[in-house]
Amino acid sequence: MSKMNLTRRGVLKTGAIAGAGVAAPTIFTAQSAAAFTNEPTGSSVTLGFNVPQSGPYADEGADELRAYELAVEHLNGGGDGGLMNTFSSKALQGNGILGKKVEYVTGDTQTKSDAARASARSMIEKDGAVMITGGSSSGVAVAVQALCQEAGVIFMAGLTHSNDTTGKDKKANGFRHFFNSYMSGAALAPILANNYGTDRRAYHLTADYNWGYTTEEAVRTSTEAMGWETVAAVKTPLTQTDFSSYIAPVLQSGADVLVLNHYGGNMVNSLTNAVQFGLRDKLVNDKNFEIVVPLYSRLMAKGAGANVKGIFGSTNWHWSLQDEGSKQFVQSFGTKYGFPPSQAAHTCYVQALLYADAVERAGSFNPCAVGEALSDFEFDGMGNGPTLYRGEDHQCFKDVLVVKGKENPTSEFDLLEIVEVTPTSQVTYDASIFGGELGACNPGA
């Protein structure tokens, strides 16, 4: 069957010119104009920002949206230009993308796959978005990425940490800048071994869903390689708010490290419970009892308050980094909104700029051309040091930060301190280990 997918915009603009004043209906049939889905033909291009505005990750979503608005402002030549000043690629001129003014539509994913896909589909079908970006959980990211692959638009993932997004569920039209569970494990393990020794016995509490599984596995594998022993790994329901019943058995198990594979509200609650139980004051096997949180975010640290002091974890980016890119981004964001950006805001801003830059370099909005421009693209100046967008799985490889809850925070944003920047080489893995197939890029129409 021949496909009859015209782009809305294409048809619309042609229709507006041809049909100006002409009352007679004009029928457009297939294959006339569009080379790919939602080809922008006018003086503007529409991007779709699909973030959680309600639900458990609404805070992150709000910060992501701020970052996108800032990115649009910079792309259109407003503000101070932000990271475009420090970005190693100089293709962006501040005149929109390929001379077209950047416009955007927003949607609420509600942190549900169905709602996120509905929102993304309306952006593609109704608003003519040529790229979708955002998301604050891996389930949503995987669902929307698959949708974008089918529809023939580019998906630039926001905050999603599961291995699956660029692992077994990777898609040719999807790209991720954020790091993943595997990298967290690989970055954390040596630090943990240095600080806590190589003969530790770990007890895992794992959120009972995909992200929890991949994170547990990553941390387990890397710590066991260092000589640690895993005593037990217990799954906790995602909706759990009181973890006391899970913490009590930890003491009896003979473990001396507790790993909390939790995120967001889960982590805030489980960590608070663990500290209240006095775990950190205990001596087990003649060693201080320690707690580890593989994935940290500032918003979580804020929720857990003083309980995070001295606890190790990993993060994608932190505003206290002192390279040019980070300083520039914190300054632009701070000037506009009055507080430093979170790692979610950073990754989303960078993704928006990377997309725009790839379009400029490719000279086309065609997803296949953009995908080619992004694959194996090496860049710098975005706050994470030299970074590679690997072509095999569309995952970014860059330094990973190991952080620790700050003992003496000076402000409500100054909660984490960077312990070590783990170099890229240490967190790089073979693209084939997670399975999955990238497939071919789909330009739609």
Binding site: M1, T14, A23, V105
Partner: protein, 399 residues
Amino acid sequence: MLGLDKKHTNLLLLVFVLTLLAPFILNPFPEGSGMAQFNAGYPDLMQRFVIFGIFAIGFNILFGLTGYLSFGHAAFLGVGSYAAMWMMKLLTMNIIPAIAVSVIVAGLFALLVGWISLRRSGIYFSILTLAFAQMSYALAYSVLTPITGGETGLQPKLQDPRILDGALEAGASPKANLFGLEMGSSFEWSVGSWLFTFNVGYYVAAIAMLASFYLAIRIFNSPFGMMLRAIKSNQQRLNYTGLNARPYTLAAFVVSGMYAGLAGGLMVAMDTQVGAERMFWTASGEVVLMTILGGAGTLIGPVLGAGMIKYMENIMSKINSTILHEWFAFLPDGLEDFVVTLIYPFIGKGWHLTLGLIFMLVVIFLPGGLVEGGQRIAKLFKRKNPSSDTPDGKTTPAE
């Protein structure tokens, strides 16, 4: 016609015409105009209208006729979706086996849940169904991850077996189709500055909806439907006359579950993805809202309610503050900001708030739902007819 009396034939024809012309009716505003924001005539939303229409029609067969309030209907929707997805992964991307299996599996699951839950009535029945739905959700989210994909859900993959389909061409991705006709393909017709989209998937779902609607009319008018109404009005009395009501309620429950399964199967056919959130209790609550908002126990009500809620969810939630500022740009600056601040909590992520307000107004002033509102308006226009000139007919609807 089709074994229906005149009134119901007209109703069926009305629904038929409305669904057929939906691409026009839902796109009343020209593209590029400020009002285009309110256009709902794009494939995804049109598909959702009819699919949730089916879901609500099915729910209404149970709730509207027997009065049994199931608070776990989303479980059948979810089970149907998973069944359809597995058919697409294992057999073929053709939607016929997927939908057939989704209806059967949902029916079997409803038989099991109904057999247990219908031992109680009233609030206990509601809680039992809710418990089943939450159990299904929890199972799908974590324990059954190998089958359900857990948090990330299931999608057709390139490497799935699909034993009935030939190998995919290089670079092609599996797409849901009806004997080669892809669900995602559409035909666009541009008239002046209007743009109308005719989507294959929408019309497939619309045919399913019309068939479900017709079946619902037949059930409502059948002796079986009469028996269900009798259960609603006085079950004790039925028991005293020596009738066992359970087989009837169970049959209604299973039929209703099969409707939900059909809706689930169609959802997968239109958008090849399924996740566990589809079974969450809020999804079960949503269909209760749809039915009550539209008018429980009426034929067309649930469809209207479904349309209303899905419209709010997809259109209202996408209005952001930038758009508001554009709308009110003609006002002086201070006033503009004031008006925007005033409206902002009710749009975007605040669409739940607006929906809640509308729901309260409807329940308080129009207990019969939107259908009652329609009837009252119709009465207003018939005022010249003395027989219908009741005091009630003079009150304006609260909306």
